[in-house]
């Protein structure tokens, strides 16, 4: 197979993904700080408006922010699939996510319909152009690594469903639509958002970046080919069971979701164990925590509804914390520590045509010691917060402060890398 002379669109300018990456830690910090005053409103039940508001500061403001930025960077550069009008898509996506997440959180916190109306419009602007552009890119992708394309395309579909369900739920909360079936809609929004968009996207990205950055063998071909489809089908079964009221089908779907979490966690941990480069850096540790979190979550989808009633709310809270902070935020952090310094090096090299040794290398752009400091704070915050839903509300406060501090350290680390890039004459645009 040969592809001489194929014309690849240039990598997007450094400033394009960076605006997302530098904004995201601020949202994690905001979520942690905002969670402290109303601590008893959210630790008790994940369905309170305060808990939903905080969740969206993390899912939209932190995770969605990094994931959009990373995809706009990765689609052309890793998969050779240019994103049309990437500059405009990034401006709309970044602005829409930033304002939309703030408006949504404020609207939920204050239970104010006007803010929710605004949030819906702004979030639609933040997501729809991005999804349209990503669709064109994913349809045109010409890559030899086709295994990555399948989970990314399924993640795209999941994102579309999540956004559509989210807009519908916001319309219900804002009093525009009839509230019947809101519980079902909430469950499906959660399932497609976390189990579809987040998990499938991480799988697709992992197929590329785990072997590339952690120098492991590739994901086993049989697993890589089938696992995303199984996870997606499981979500389909759960949706069908929810809509048509078929509990047995739901059990099968939830069982398969649990198996997907466990399978991805186990396969990735095994690859990391067999890595050729024996160094343990922050990215490896963040990813290991992410995969262990998936293993911890795996039995839950099947068991949740069989738990005693009074255990369900705190279990759901704990699961949410393990998924969002233990899994998703950890793999995002691990990725940022590779993407941001690599892009700094790459763009500086490309802009200056520098000879080796005359510009900083990746480790100088973002030293391991700084990344490890963040890793320790993040681990401490996650471990502290996991039992919080089972303990008196005040217990969570130190964990939230640790989380805010760890997000601040992440932001400073990324900013330091960008400052060094600028000092050597790098251009962001």
């Amino acid at each position: 197979m040969s592809q001489a002379g194929l014309s690849y669109e240039q990598a997007p300018p450094y400033g394009l993904p960076l605006r997302y990456f530098l904004t995201a830690p601020l949202f994690l910090q905001l979520a942690a700080v905002a969670a402290i005053p109303g601590i008893k409103d959210w630790t008790s039940d994940p369905h309170t408006l305060a808990a939903i508001a905080l969740t969206h500061l993390i899912t939209l403001g932190f995770l969605g922010m990094v994931m959009q930025g990373a995809l706009l960077q990765m689609l052309p550069v890793v998969l050779g699939a240019p994103v049309p009008a990437a500059g405009w898509v990034a401006r709309l996506g970044h602005t829409g996510l930033t304002l939309g997440a703030l408006l949504l959180a404020a609207g939920l916190y204050r239970a104010q319909a006007t803010l929710l109306h605004l949030a819906m419009a702004v979030l639609a602007i933040g997501w729809l152009p991005f999804l349209a552009a990503a669709a064109v890119s994913l349809a045109r992708a010409r890559t030899m690594s086709r295994l990555t394309l399948i989970p990314l395309r399924l993640a795209w579909l999941s994102a579309l469903l999540t956004v559509a369900l989210g807009l519908w739920l916001a319309a219900v909360l804002a009093g525009i639509l009839d509230p019947h079936a809101i519980e079902r809609g909430l469950g499906l929004h959660l399932a497609w958002g976390l189990g579809g968009w987040v998990l499938l996207l991480v799988m697709g990205v992992a197929y590329q970046v785990v072997p590339m950055l952690q120098i492991t063998p590739p994901y086993p071909a049989f697993y890589a080919r089938w696992a995303p489809g199984v996870a997606f089908a499981a979500l389909g079964l759960v949706s069908l069971a929810t809509v048509a009221d078929l509990p047995a089908l739901g059990d099968l779907g939830y069982g398969l979701i649990g198996a997907s979490l466990a399978g991805f966690g186990l396969v990735t941990l095994d690859l990391q164990r067999r890595r050729r480069r024996r160094v343990t850096d922050a990215t490896l540790l963040f990813w290991r925590l992410g995969m262990l979190s998936l293993l911890a979550l795996a039995p839950l989808p099947a068991l949740y509804l069989k738990l005693p009633g009074e255990w369900q709310a705190p279990t759901a809270m704990t699961a949410g914390l393990v998924f969002l902070l233990g899994f998703a935020a950890s793999v995002v952090n691990g990725m940022l520590y590779k993407i941001v310094p690599f892009l700094a090096w790459f763009h500086l090299q490309s802009q200056t045509g520098a000879r080796a040794g005359t510009i900083p290398n990746m480790k100088e752009f973002l030293p391991d010691t700084q990344a490890m400091r963040h890793w320790r704070l993040h681990l401490a915050a996650v471990l502290w917060l996991i039992p919080a839903p089972w303990l008196p509300p005040a217990y969570a406060a130190p964990g939230l402060l640790l989380l805010a501090l760890s997000a601040h350290v992440l932001w400073r680390n990324l900013l330091g890398c960008v400052r060094l890039f600028r000092r050597y004459g790098g251009r962001l645009a």
Binding site: S2, G80, M212, I215
Partner: protein, 78 residues
């Protein structure tokens, strides 16, 4: 003329890129660089285009990639 071989399989980014750029700077006029890598290096293509160089990528049976880099037009024959 023998191709300049860069075996960057199993190296952590951006070392493969650094090595291939160093080899391109060192090569003799019209000499080609043959890069062996465990993945397809899309970022390298951007740099090569900027440098006015041409490349041909081949997926090898063992799953690694062989990227032949030289001045245009690139001949695949020795």
């Amino acid at each position: 003329m023998e191709d300049l071989l860069v075996d960057a399989r199993g190296l952590e980014p951006p070392e493969p890129l650094e090595r291939v750029l160093a080899s391109l700077a060192q090569r003799r006029p019209s000499q080609r660089v043959r890069l062996l890598l465990h993945r397809e290096p899309f970022p390298l293509y951007t740099l090569l285009k900027q440098m006015g160089l041409t490349y041909a990528t081949e997926l090898m049976p063992d799953g690694n990639f062989c990227i032949l880099i030289g001045d245009p037009p690139l001949s695949r024959e020795r």
